[in-house]
Amino acid sequence: MTEAAGPAVLRLGSDLSEVARLNDWYAGQVAGAGVPPDLAGDLKLCLNEAVANVLSYAFEGDGATDAPEVEVRLLLSPYRVSAEVIDNGIAFDPLSRPPAAPLTDLASAGIGGFGITLIRETAADVRYRRAEGQNHLTMVCVARAEAQPPDAPR
């Protein structure tokens, strides 16, 4: 099992086009671990949003490193999947952002800021920590209740 073997790890470059490589790698990992499509899709969404944020913002501006490092670690099972995104960019805790205001009409609607909302709404658990100059964002998704066996650990 993947869990017993430790996380599957992918290192990414800092270009936004790396998300495509991430998605190809991820598809192979979830297929190999027998993760059902719904659950695999939930974590794929969280990963896309988290990595897109890192690649878009973590390495720009004052204090940003000129030697970007981004790593994704996956722990996969058919009922519970988690992804940790680690980067050495500017310290940023996505959970510190206030929840997006409800949209009322198209005229006043902003066109951005949806990514963090999606992570919050999709993941069962999201944790952030900053350690040794790195951001660690861990996102956990669990299978929907009807897809779990009665004795599955929650």
């Binding site: 936004l16 086009s17 998300v19 495509a20 998605n23 719904d38 899709g41 939930d42 794929k44 969404l45 896309n48 949003e49 897109a52 997006a100 409800p102 949209l103 009409d105 198209l106 005229a107 609607a109 066109i111 951005g112 949806f114 990514g115 909302t117 999606l118 709404e121 999709t122």
Partner: protein
Amino acid sequence: MQMTQTELENGTLKVTLTGPFDIAGAGDVDLPFSVIAGRAQKVIVDFTGVDFLASIGVRVLVKTAKPIDKRGGKMALFGVNEAARKVLSATGVDTLIPVVEDEASARAAVA
């Protein structure tokens, strides 16, 4: 991501998308959607072939719908799978851009 555009009767434009609406997909369709945003009045978007929707795709949809709405036009989505529906609902965008079952309902929604 592939996009095809079909002019229907009474000025409705049908946009058919195929593939993942992720960062790469959004890059493929951002420009044609900008052109649509600048001139179309009634737009229906067929999502049947969209197997993944990320926030960058939501951004493109909202960016397209805003100027259409400003001109008094309408845009609606149909054929949206369950995962993409969740994305549109979690972001609240389904309250601004109607998400309906099929093409007939979408045509009615923008008529």
